[in-house]
Amino acid sequence: MQVDRYERYWMWAASGMLALFLVAIVVTAVSGGAHPPSHVETINPETLDIGTEFATPGVVTAPDGSLTVVMRAELYVFKPDVVRLPVGRPVRFRITTPDVLHGFQIVGTNVNLTVAPGYVSEGTTTFTEPGEYLVVCNEYCGLGHHNMYSRIVVEAAP
């Protein structure tokens, strides 16, 4: 096929740009562990209250000191609705729902999860600044969707 010289240059440049994007993605994924949340774990949404960690949502400190926040998203609330966390420590969020799809987005961080009934979603982040963080539901879940939010209060180390 006859392709114009400049068009050929352009196609090389375009391929180069796309390759560069992909390399950047792969490098950060492999070396920096920059992956999207892809936790694979299922749970019965109708029996969350029967002996699962989601029966008593809240902050859990493991024996090794690592922090996990267990949360529930339900038609129009997050439980617990205020979470207190220390600054500068990695925190893992585990969240599920007994009803419809929700979103779990901590404004100002990289935590952005789809919450689906039957599945447990996980995300991790480290809060580097103390202060109050807004959590919003970003997946339409019904007529109260815009009222569905909660707060995370990050406290400076004592």
Binding site: M1, Q2, V3, D4, Y6, E7, W10, M11, A14, S15, M17, L18, F21, L22, I25, A29, A34, H35, P36, P37, S38, H39, V40, T42, I43, N44, P45, L75, D99, V100, L101, Q105, V107, G108, N110, N112, L113, T114, V115, A116, P117, G118, Y119, S121, E122, Y133, L134, V136, C137, N138, Y140, C141, G142, L143, G144, H145, H146, N147, Y149, R151
Partner: protein
């Protein structure tokens, strides 16, 4: 009016009507979010309106418009529409389906938005109507393919006209896309919505939805590209830069538009990261043909500008026919698509997606792409097509010349603040961005207000478009019709069909790619221990 023109215009007017209604909903949404007191401003009506707006614009307007364009192209390039009675059957099926779904939405029993993610459960009529709309569009696919095959039988070894090649590409993409939708709606949702099955798995359903959802966007875009490649160079007074390369571009859309759906599910649980990474690769591959398009179409326009006497590096730009609404629509669409495509590269970035997923950024993004690049191209084309096929001159040519600029400006006002609000964390699909006065949310409010101004400008532009078309049809006298003419290539392509004209072969390759991208993750989803969900209707 010839039978073919009647068929084309019937589809066209349904598209225009759906657009008119969808645009009215849109301006109410934009104002409601900005806190303007509307007598009917309730959360209930807001989400109902967003459902109707998404369905009527993204699904009904686009599909009917593309069906109209498809029939027009095969009639004028291949000289036939095979099986006109089938075509009418498809039209009625799709129209009845549209009415059923619209009534279901307006009744307030189906406020599930146009993505209808289970376990949100709408009235069964919502899904039945949508199914009829898609079945009607499949009949269109059948008629398009039959017309093409009949032409090829009579013209063995001849290169198919480029516009027909492009529209057949859209047909193939649509068939590949709707295969996923059919599984979701017919097998998973319909039995569940009427109570035959109790439960549904939301992630499985979403996966089939996005198998459909991404190629859907190329089903919109490819017909717009057909206008850009095969008509605009001539409208601008020039020729198409490269016919041969254009065919390669269309084939790439067939190959890569479907195996990419996980880029809409980056944040989903239940799907392993590796598959998301694979879909990232194919997503970047699909940007390539659009980058080539940017070159080819711009080069064609430069050629046109120089043929009109433009000189110097940029002098040709001013010589282009900026007051011709078809030309200006497409030129502004191209600029907008460059912005939208840039945003798309960010959306698609495997991990960066977490920053913008489901924020107002996304709503800014798709109003640039489908809401402008595609829609504005279709608007401009309408001004060009309607007088040609009906013989009626445009009623208010001045209004028509200004309208594309209004849309462009309105959309910048609407989309840029949406992008910014999204980066600041504002979620999409919210009746109000206030969140009970929480401090972090206060910074979003001025942005939402600016985008409401954009919404009003867009609405004025939308009404200008509908008004000029309706006025032309009802007020202007009928005169002589003119042919639909296509751009000549600058270099005549070699005679005879090439590898890039073998649509069947490339479709087979595309199916293999879909299997690679989806077979294993779907198998895994279907076979792992899961807990499907009953339905909820919180509206």
């Amino acid at each position: 009016m010839t039978p073919a023109v009647r068929l084309v215009l019937s589809h066209f007017w349904v598209a225009v009507a759906a657009f008119g209604v969808g645009a009215m909903m849109a301006v109410m949404q934009a104002l409601a979010r900005a806190g303007v007191e509307l007598p009917f401003g309730t959360a209930n009506l807001y989400y109902l309106s967003v459902t109707a707006h998404g369905v009527l614009l993204a699904l009904v307007f686009t599909t009917f418009f593309i069906m109209a364009l498809g029939y027009l192209v095969v009639e004028t390039t291949l000289g036939r529409i095979a099986g006109p009675s089938w075509a009418w059957a498809g039209f009625w099926l799709a129209s009845i389906g549209t009415v059923i779904t619209t009534v279901a939405i307006l009744s307030g029993t189906s406020t599930v938005l146009y993505t209808f993610y289970p376990p949100l459960l709408a009235h069964p009529a919502f899904y039945i109507g949508a199914t009829l709309l898609v079945v009607g569009s499949w009949v269109w696919c059948g008629v398009m393919i039959a017309s093409f095959v009949s032409w090829r039988r009579a013209n063995r070894g001849t290169r198919p006209p480029l516009a027909a090649h492009g529209m057949l590409t859209a047909v193939i993409i649509w068939i590949l896309a709707t295969a996923g939708l059919a599984v979701e709606v017919v097998i998973l949702i319909l039995p569940w919505s009427v109570g035959l099955v109790d439960r549904i798995d939301p992630i499985v359903a979403r996966t089939y939805f996005w198998w459909f959802g991404h190629p859907l966007t190329y089903f919109w875009l490819v017909p717009a590209y057909v206008l850009w490649y095969t008509m605009i160079p001539r409208v601008a007074g020039g020729k198409l830069f490269s016919d041969a390369l254009t065919r390669v571009v269309f084939i790439q859309f067939i190959l890569f538009s479907t195996p990419v759906g996980f880029h809409h599910q980056f944040t989903d649980p239940g799907i392993a990261g590796g598959w998301k990474l694979l879909h990232t690769f194919t997503t970047y591959a699909i940007m390539f043909p659009s980058l080539v398009t940017a070159f080819t179409v711009t080069a064609s326009l430069e050629y046109a500008g120089r043929a009109r006497g433009g000189a110097g590096t940029f002098g040709w730009i001013g010589k282009l026919p900026w007051s011709d609404p078809f030309f200006s629509s497409v030129a502004l669409s191209m600029v907008t698509f460059a912005l939208g495509g840039f945003g798309g590269a960010i959306n698609a970035a495997y991990a960066m997606n977490a920053m913008i997923h489901n924020t107002a950024w996304v709503q800014g993004h798709f109003h640039l792409t489908v809401g402008t690049a595609v829609t504005l191209s279709f608007m401009g084309f309408s001004y060009w097509m309607l007088p040609r096929v009906t013989g009626r001159a445009l009623v208010w040519p001045r209004v028509a010349s200004v309208q594309p600029y209004l849309w462009f400006i309105g959309m910048q006002f609407f989309s840029i603040p949406s992008h910014i609000a999204g980066l600041m964390g504002m979620p999409r699909r919210v009746y109000t961005g206030e969140f009970h006065g929480i401090e972090a949310a206060q910074a979003w409010i001025p942005l939402v207000n600016i985008s409401a101004v954009g919404g009003v400008i867009l609405f004025v532009s939308a009404m200008c478009w509908v008004g000029v078309l309706a006025g032309t049809m009802f007020v202007m006298p009928r005169g002589a019709t003119r042919p639909i003419e296509y751009a000549e290539p600058m270099v005549a392509p070699p005679d005879g069909a090439s590898l890039w004209d073998r649509l069947g072969l490339w479709t087979a390759v595309a199916i293999v790619l879909i299997i690679i991208a989806y077979a294993q993750p779907l198998y895994h989803l279907h076979t792992m221990a899961r807990f499907p969900s009953r339905g909820f209707s919180p509206f």
